[in-house]
Amino acid sequence: MTVMTAPAPAAAVAAPIPTAVPAASPAAGPVWQPVCAVEDIWPDTGVCALLGGRQIAVFRLADGGLHAIDNHDPNSGANVLWRGIVGDLGGEPVVASPIYKHHYRLRDGGCIENPDTPLATHAVELRDGIVWVEA
């Protein structure tokens, strides 16, 4: 039988206790924040940025296009979308979740297999070789 006891020494939890509260300053609204140098994102791949406690997957396409969507894959419950394969379906740029291969559109965050689970998208810009995301 599984027994849960509380409170317990912090060491008993193997993962770090959440460091940041989700959404740092909701009242202030989204703000532009620098993320990384554009070379840090290899063409046609993604990285994950931690912005105010929120995980955002940022993709750079081979043609230079940049896209940012939430990193959380609601269909598997894991924070993994930056690790998906980038490509297109019917001309529409998408990322395939590495867990159960749901495809999310990079432009509007829509999920092709499950329309009930769209993702938030974020504005991205390249300024002097630095990728900025509004979150």
Partner: protein
């Protein structure tokens, strides 16, 4: 309305088909005034006797069943099993069951089939003497086989040979004893019989012709001794009689129905016996003094009888074509029409190739215009075409020999296009389905062979017509403008096999180039990993360089297996499962340091779970320092070579299986392929490494190694097949090189060797020809390609941890050193495991969670 009581005796293949036909005519039996009772003597409802032998290769009794669940549970229909009819009383239209119960009938249908004939040899009742007809017979054979080393089949006909295969597959020394001077007397002529015999003997079955068994007594070296009329003898542990069948007409005889000269209930064209209330169908019936031992004529009779009983006075049985095509022990044998050339003035045209062991004969009419019959042994590819020519009286081409001669330099032979066939041509003889019916079904929306099968039943019995049915399907779809493709995805109008060829021949080294030259768009999660795998199989460049990294599936990208919570596992290679205490300690130490969950895998190695992306390089640096390499658990590549302990320790081992397994694992590690590849090496025939369940299985013999290929565990288990025996190590390795490279060249995406093999045209014989006899002249090329891959192997993790650009990519966040707080573990049985959603919620509320098993 008066209920008509219809009783069917026998729930075999034909009896069941009769009920199906009846239901097709009268879906609502009570409304049609019918009360149907089916009486079956066997303990189970109708099953596929035609595929009975597949019971030995693992098909269960349930899978053989022909009866969908619930089929007999409908109003007006009743099936009683274990119900043998003992007698029929025609005076008052009743019958009596073996348990004494009496039933009345208005109409009676006999579908009692036949029984195996056992020659009246003294000693035939001894223990471990069998027949081959029912599932119970096979169960008994299996039990005897388990305590036997040798077996004899009496009878070298169709069934006898099928039975011999079953004995051989059980691992017995197998003999076939035949009374006639050749095998399959009924179907093939002398020339075909000779080739057939040689082929069968090559497969390790000894054939003894012109032997008449006089008696069976105690053996000196085995359970039985079979003494033949000429005084010679043969010793064996078990015997199976397969000396022909006899119609089960005993009920009919006892109630004085007319019986044919060779047995069987005499029936007219409506399948009615000499009593107008009694019908007989299937193998128990005799029509025109003929008894049909095949299922197709029986199905036809079932259709006729069902119609006639329902008032369809013009339904008539018109005889049946007895052409057959079979694969006996992997040998194709076919006989069409007048195979023996008995028609007056018939001419024959024969092609024999004793090297390739192929025999083909055409029997042509005296005016040379029409095909009367044919015999094909060793290669029956033309069966469908020739059969249709014969059945439809299609005019022979000017040089009929071209129909059977091998095409020059492998060019495709101009077969008989399905377009040439009339609509009335019956393509599926088992189920009496014509080309016109197939076309109609396609017009009604059938798009796949599966849909076509369920719409028409074509191809669902012996399966022999499937190639032709597929041709019709494709031709019809094409005509309708429906595209039939095996394209990988929307980005490439090619199959994986074609892409492989394009990459290798075009010297293409990057995805961008491949897409530019042969594709469109950006690619996707289907074509990118396929391209990455092909590039790796061909050139073996580092899979994580900038061009290739983005093609990789997440597992390859991070050189680990992703888990449900987004964390990864690490699996160091433990070749053949051999591991030193130091290595065990090192794994333990590292796992403890990073608090990883450890588990022994099903592949004889240790999996370490619970690493986040940024921890992978740290963990692997320590593993590499301790001497470990990547185990490629993430790749579509060689997984493990499972070994048993072998002759080094084991008292039965005949070769060093561990040593061999280590050498094989080290040779093929890192090899990228269409799907994962697993090996097993066993040190003796007890097979503790389960090599016959692997893509490549190696089993030690006294004289070397037996090589098995295309086995599979997993979702659809498949036994591996013996490719070659008693190989020395160098030859074994060469054959595996060729086999793997040929598979890599030709398989589809995500096709394990087992499915690839099941779809390989020409089957095991073809594979043997390509690999062992180098029939395509590819051997040296395949070996060279493998040599390149073997020579350019490098441990992916070792390279990764020395590559700063790559290490930068292995971070959980690009802008922070934090960890993913969505990955939460709790402790259970002394190790971590992913927290459940509920446990996570508590954790996020700030309540620490400890889970311990009590």
């Amino acid at each position: 309305m008066h209920q008509q009581r219809l009783v069917v005796v026998g729930n075999g293949m034909v009896g069941h088909r009769f009920v199906q036909e009846l239901l097709a005519l009268h879906p609502d039996l009570p409304a049609a005034g019918l009360a149907v009772t089916v009486l079956g003597e066997e303990p189970r409802p109708a099953y596929d006797r035609v595929h009975l032998s597949s019971f030995f290769s693992g098909t269960s009794a349930d899978e053989l069943s022909l009866v969908e669940p619930g089929f007999y549970q409908r109003p007006g229909l009743r099936l009683r099993l274990n119900a043998r009819v003992a007698s029929i009383e025609r005076r008052n239209n009743t019958l009596q069951l073996a348990d004494g119960e009496v039933l009345a009938y208005d109409k009676l249908v006999l579908a009692t089939g036949s029984y195996p004939f056992v020659p009246p040899v003294p000693g035939r009742e001894r223990d471990a003497c069998h027949v081959y007809r029912t599932i119970e017979d096979l169960e008994a054979m299996q039990a005897s086989g388990a305590r036997s080393a040798s077996g004899v089949v009496v009878g070298g006909g169709l069934l006898g040979l099928e039975c011999a295969k079953a004995l051989r597959d059980m691992g017995l020394r197998t003999h076939v004893v035949e009374f006639a001077p050749r095998l399959m007397v009924a179907q093939v002529d002398d020339g075909g019989g000779r080739i057939l015999r040689r082929k069968i003997e090559d497969l390790g079955v000894q054939v003894h012709t012109e032997r008449n068994t006089a008696e069976i007594t105690d053996g000196a070296t085995a359970r039985h001794r079979m003494v033949f009329a000429d005084g010679s003898w043969l010793e064996t542990d078990m015997i199976v009689f397969s000396a022909g069948i006899r119609a089960r007409d005993e009920l009919a005889r006892r109630c004085l129905l007319a019986v044919g000269p060779r047995g069987g209930v005499v029936i007219d064209d409506h399948c009615r016996s000499s009593d107008a209330d009694i019908y007989a169908i299937g193998e128990c019936a005799s029509w025109n003094e003929q008894v049909f031992g095949l299922v197709a004529p029986g199905y036809d009779m079932a259709r006729v009888a069902a119609r006639h009983i329902g008032g369809g006075a013009d339904a008539a049985f018109a005889g049946a074509d007895m052409s057959t095509k079979l694969k006996l022990m992997g040998v194709d044998v076919a006989s069409i029409g007048d195979a023996q050339g008995r028609t007056r003035g018939a001419l024959s045209c024969v092609f024999t190739d004793e090297i390739k062991q192929i025999y083909k004969k055409l029997v042509v009419s005296a005016d040379r215009k029409r095909l009367l019959g044919a015999v094909l042994v060793g290669d029956a590819a033309e069966y469908g075409t020739l059969l249709q020519m014969m059945l439809n009286g299609i005019a022979l081409p000017e040089a009929p020999e071209q129909l059977i001669l091998p095409a020059a330099d492998g060019a495709a032979k101009a077969g008989l296009g399905v377009d040439a066939l009339p609509d009335g041509a019956v393509l599926c003889s088992c189920n009496n389905v014509s080309k016109g019916q197939l076309c109609a079904a396609v017009a009604d929306g059938a798009r796949t062979i599966g849909e076509l099968k369920s719409a028409t039943r074509a191809g669902t019995s012996c399966g022999g017509c499937v190639p032709l049915v597929t041709q019709v399907l494709n031709a019809e779809l094409k005509r309708q403008g429906v595209e039939v493709t095996n394209h990988l995805c929307e980005h490439f109008p090619h199959s994986r096999q074609e892409l492989y060829h394009l990459v290798r021949v075009g010297g293409i080294r990057s995805f961008a180039e491949l897409l530019h030259r042969h594709g469109t768009g950006r690619g996707c999660d289907i074509c990118k990993p396929v391209a990455a795998s092909i590039l790796a199989s061909c050139w073996n460049d580092f899979i994580l360089n900038q061009d290739q990294a983005r093609l990789q599936d997440s597992n390859d990208y991070f050189l680990g297996n992703i888990q449900k919570d987004g964390s990864y596992s690490a699996v160091p290679r433990v070749a053949a499962g051999e591991i030193t205490p130091e290595q065990l300690i090192a794994i333990g130490r590292i796992a403890k340091k990073y608090d990883l969950y450890t588990k022994i895998t099903g592949g004889q190695r240790i999996d370490l779970f619970g690493a986040q992306v940024h921890q992978l390089p740290l963990i692997w640096r320590e593993l590499v320092d301790a001497g470990f390499e990547s185990g490629h658990a993430y790749g579509k590549s060689l997984r493990t070579v499972k070994s048993c302990v072998g002759s080094t320790w084991c008292r039965y081992g005949v070769q060093d299986s561990v040593g061999m397994a280590i050498r094989l694992e080290n040779r093929y590690k890192g090899l990228r392929s269409p799907h994962k590849i697993k090996f097993g090496v066993s040190g003796c025939t007890r097979e503790c490494a389960e090599a016959q369940g692997k893509d490549v299985g190696v089993i030690a013999t006294e004289r070397g190694w037996n090589l098995y290929v295309c086995g599979n565990g997993g979702m659809k288990p498949r036994h591996a097949e013996l490719l070659a025996s008693d190989l020395d190590e160098a030859t074994l390795v060469r054959m595996i090189d060729r086999f793997l490279m040929f598979y890599i060249r030709t398989a589809d995406r995500l096709q394990r060797t087992s499915t690839w093999r099941d779809n390989l045209e020409g089957g095991l014989d073809y594979l043997k020809a390509v690999i062992l006899e180098d029939s395509l002249g590819l051997g040296a090329e395949l070996e060279a390609e493998m040599a390149h891959v073997v020579g350019s192997y490098a441990c992916e993790w070792k390279k990764a941890i020395e590559d700063p650009a790559l290490l930068r990519r292995m971070r959980t966040f690009v802008n922070s050193d934090a960890a993913d707080d969505n990955i939460v573990f709790v402790r259970e049985r002394g190790q971590i495991r992913p927290a459940t959603a509920a446990e996570k919620l508590q954790c996020f509320k700030g309540i620490a969670v400890v889970a311990e098993t009590a």
